[in-house]
């Protein structure tokens, strides 16, 4: 499939020239085309922020909902029609800040969706405030003395909660991002792909070259099936120690998805909208209230 199929004619793109988001958009289109997943099959779900606008630039079904809440409708969509491929695209503020509670519990719920987080360690749309992943001492118009809070470690949290697929890539490495995205989308269950992505306007610290210097690709010596190994890798790079690893950190096999756990799909895979009300059964239920 040609990635051109996802091209939105006349899209008025609101991203700054040189934004890392363009690279991610390109990688996502490529990954979907490689997997032969056409626009009709796809639902892209997002919240608010510059990252949340991505679905508007990729031809598909979209649900651009509220700030921080995207995983909830994404879950509702997947569970109502498991035939659809549901991809949540959010930013670090949306997913790890406003949506933190949903992030945790969606991991626990394990719907078969892919959660892509465009992580630039800063708020773009609201013009340069700290995000949950901003590194310490990062100065902003709001954090005038620099960030003093511990940066949120989404990968460590996800691994600890038993997320079934956890990965991180760097937007500038498109082939690697495409490869990881394809695996994440194909993975059955919840998958998190956190993508480092420089904000060229509001983050003058974590630039393309900074990410290049502060990351490394994990090689074959990393075993993603070992939770404790995955967690060790996820802790690297934080607190200014060492570099942030890139690649697939953790894969949990054999875990049932949210949809698979529901009785409604045990025998029958029909999407919910095609299911009728059984009035006979309802009459039986009401009549059962006649006797003890």
């Amino acid at each position: 499939m040609d990635p051109e199929i996802f091209e939105m004619e006349n899209a008025d793109i609101a991203w700054c020239p040189g934004c890392g988001d363009f690279l991610i958009l390109k990688a996502l289109k490529q990954a979907l085309a490689d997997l032969e997943l056409g626009p009709e099959k796809l639902v892209l779900v997002s919240g608010i922020g510059q990252a949340g606008k991505l679905p508007h630039y990729l031809k598909s079904n979209i649900f651009n909902g509220l700030h921080g809440r995207s995983l909830s409708p994404a879950t509702g969509i997947k569970v109502s029609n498991p035939d659809m491929v549901v991809i949540d695209v959010s930013g670090d503020g949306c997913m790890y800040g406003e949506g933190g509670n949903h992030f945790m519990h969606t991991i626990r719920r394990n719907p078969d969706i892919t959660n892509i987080v465009l992580n630039n360690m800063v708020y773009g749309l609201t013009k340069g405030q700290a995000s949950p992943t901003s590194q310490k001492d990062f100065e902003t118009p709001f954090q005038v003395d620099g960030v003093f809070e511990e940066p949120f470690n989404p990968l460590a949290v996800a691994i600890t909660l038993g997320a079934s697929f956890v990965a991180r890539t760097f937007a500038a490495d498109i082939p690697h991002t495409v490869e990881v995205l394809k695996k994440a989308i194909q993975h059955k269950g919840y998958s998190l792909v956190d993508i480092f992505q420089p904000c060229v306007t509001f983050n003058k610290v974590n630039t393309f070259s900074w990410f290049k210097e502060h990351t490394y690709r994990m090689d074959d010596t990393h075993n993603p099936y070992l939770k404790i190994e995955a967690l060790k890798r996820a802790l690297e790079g934080n607190d200014g120690e060492g570099k942030f690893p890139l690649g697939i950190f953790y894969i949990k096999m054999g875990q049932k998805t949210f949809e698979e756990n529901l009785s409604v799909y045990k025998k029958d895979k029909t999407p919910l909208f095609q299911r009728k009300v059984d009035k006979k059964k309802l009459k039986t239920l009401i009549d059962s209230k006649r006797s003890l």
Binding site: A14, R69, N101, K281, I286
Partner: protein, 581 residues
């Protein structure tokens, strides 16, 4: 009050039994046993409970009315009070009169003055202790009352077996023994000659259905095609959540307990976007958390049904009590301007039919529809011949999309054909930003105005098909002077009071669609010399809404907001005072 000690009570036509004890003494189980036993015994029954938000201690009570006529409303009157704790008497002091016969153990009654109270000793607790624990006192009390009411012992035993079989053979055996003790006590009480009950029984009643308000709403949701419900536990909406969860498998629904109310409504909107008829259920502060997503429903024009079982606020308020305080919250919830519908059923038939209708209307107009209930309506039980679902059909408003599909196509009535992803050739784009017809972000300010108008235009049709209120007058005449009004759960108390008044000057208008209002409402008020609104809130929220909608001012507001429902007696006092004016 001063009563003649050892006075005799004679009950004809209608009896009000109240059982009161501490949380953990199984008052709830007695309610379950008694309503079933009495219905099976051929009485019309009604029950309502009031309880404290605690697991142990405090005082909980349940009222059970048994009658030869249909009874469906809370009354203050207590004919027989079963006191299972010392605290029961002070707890119910305001409702106890010289005509109330108080049954209880020596230890419960010993400090009470026989010149003030009509007391009769009954060893519920002491017998329970002999059986192995205080916990059996509830079944003993239920047995005694069933015996007094002439309920066949076999029916009682069958009930006990059904209720306690799951708890293991040993416990069941003891509960059956507790029933025997109860019936023994009942016989002795009857032999004392101080209780005489002559209420006509009708065996046909035993075949009627016995349900609570929650089950009526839940049946309506199922018949309305609900396929998805996500919610966060909160009293008094939890019973509906339980009902839907229990029936999820049988009726092919997804039930999910969300991590919070915010997720609950957002998840429901995702499900609805994907074509599943979806709902959430909540109360007070829980709904406050959902408001952001109510705005989302308005903006993305995605149907959803929101069940709010009201309780007194603000904040945590009185978690287990009743109120009608969240009308304003439902009416104004969510930022911006968009259409909505608010229903407030007052009886089980309306609870079924309006809940059903909520799903059809939500889909038809692509809006949030609210079902306002409250603790009182959710928890009351009464028997009725049936719930008729014959004509309750799911109206399908979904379209199969074409390749050039536009989710927010501008149409004369504001309703765009609604497609869903994966059903047709088109793409379905929903956007919480202001959007163009395709559903993509726009900041074209002319288009913005068109989109606001498009959304609000739907109100014209919604208004035209607003459900009228139920009008009732004793003589069915329109020549009334005073129009009594209420909404939601005040239906039966108001109606029972009005029937009892039997006064041609009075008429009742019960509102079941609160917003938008049917044009009938204004017309009926104009015909009256005086209008009176009963509400379980402190500010007269419905009276204000009515004035806003019709320009008519309600003359008298009768407001109760202590957490208890209006009793028939309270309403009678107000109506009698009005008559004198």
């Amino acid at each position: 009050m001063l009563v003649k000690p050892m006075s005799k009570i004679k009950l004809e036509e209608d009896v009000s039994l109240v059982l009161c004890g501490e949380a953990g003494q199984g008052i709830q189980s007695v309610e379950n046993i008694m309503v079933q036993a009495l219905k099976m015994g051929g009485y019309h029954v009604f029950s309502t409970k009031e309880y404290m938000s605690r697991v142990r201690g405090g005082q909980n009570s349940t009222q059970i009315r048994a009658s030869s006529k249909r009874v469906k409303a809370y009354r203050d009157r207590i004919d027989i009070l079963v006191a299972l704790s010392k605290g029961a008497i002070p707890h119910l002091e305001k409702r106890i009169t010289g005509n109330t016969l108080i049954l209880g153990d020596e230890e419960v009654l010993q400090d009470l003055d026989e010149n003030h109270y009509n007391l009769l000793k009954a060893p519920f607790i002491s017998k329970a202790k002999k059986l192995g624990g205080l916990i059996f006192s509830n079944v003993i009390a239920a047995g005694a009352l069933s015996c007094i009411m002439g309920v066949d012992k076999d029916i009682f035993d069958e009930l006990i077996t059904l209720l306690f079989a799951s708890k293991g053979e040993k416990i069941l055996e003891k509960d059956l023994k507790a029933g025997v003790s109860g019936y023994d006590i009942g016989k002795k009480l009857l032999d004392s000659g101080r209780i005489s009950i002559k209420i006509e029984k009708n065996p046909a009643i035993s075949n009627e259905i016995l349900i609570n308000g929650t089950q009526a709403v839940g049946s309506g949701c199922i018949s309305g095609g609900c396929k998805f419900i996500s919610a966060y536990p909160m009293t008094p909406s939890s019973p509906l959540q339980v009902f839907m969860a229990e029936n999820a498998s049988e009726f092919e629904m997804v039930f999910e307990q969300a991590e919070d109310e915010i997720a609950a409504l957002n998840m429901a909107l995702g499900a609805s976007y994907a074509g599943a008829r979806a709902m959430t259920a909540t109360s007070g502060s829980g709904f406050a958390l959902m408001q952001e997503a109510v705005g989302l429903a308005g903006m993305i024009e995605t149907p959803v049904v929101i069940y709010i079982a009201q309780r007194p606020g603000p904040a945590v308020g009185l978690p287990t009590r009743t109120a009608q305080e969240d009308l304003n919250l439902a009416l104004y919830s969510g930022p911006g301007e968009f259409p909505r519908i608010i229903f407030a059923p007052g009886n089980f038939k309306d609870a079924l039919e309006l809940s059903h209708k909520s799903f059809n209307l939500a889909d038809k107009y692509q809006i949030p529809v609210f079902i306002l209930s409250d603790q009182y309506l959710a928890d009351i039980y009464y028997n009725l011949p049936s719930l008729d679902i014959e004509n309750l059909d799911v109206e399908d408003y979904l379209v199969e999309t074409e390749a050039d599909y536009k989710r927010y196509l501008l149409t004369p009535d504001g309703i765009s054909p609604r497609g869903i992803p994966g059903h047709g050739k088109g793409l379905v784009c929903a956007d919480s930003d202001e959007h163009d017809e395709e559903g993509h972000i726009t900041e074209d300010l002319d288009l913005r105005t068109l989109m606001v108008d498009k959304r609000l235009k739907k109100m014209d049709k919604i208004r035209k098909e607003a459900v009228p209120g139920e009008f009732f007058s004793t003589l069915n005449s329109s020549q009334y002077k005073t129009l009594i009004m209420g909404w939601g759960s005040t239906y039966w108390p108001l109606k029972e009071a009005l029937v009892e008044m039997d006064n041609d000057d009075l008429a009742l208008l019960h509102l079941k669609q609160l917003y938008p209002l049917s044009s009938q409402v204004g017309e009926l008020i104009k015909k009256a010399k005086k209008s009176v609104m009963f509400e379980n809130n402190a500010q007269g929220q419905m009276a204000h809404l009515l004035q806003m909608e019709t320009g008519l001012k309600i003359d008298h507001k009768v407001l109760k907001y202590n957490g208890m429902p209006f009793s028939v007696e309270e309403i009678l006092i107000v109506l009698e005072t009005l008559e004198e004016e």
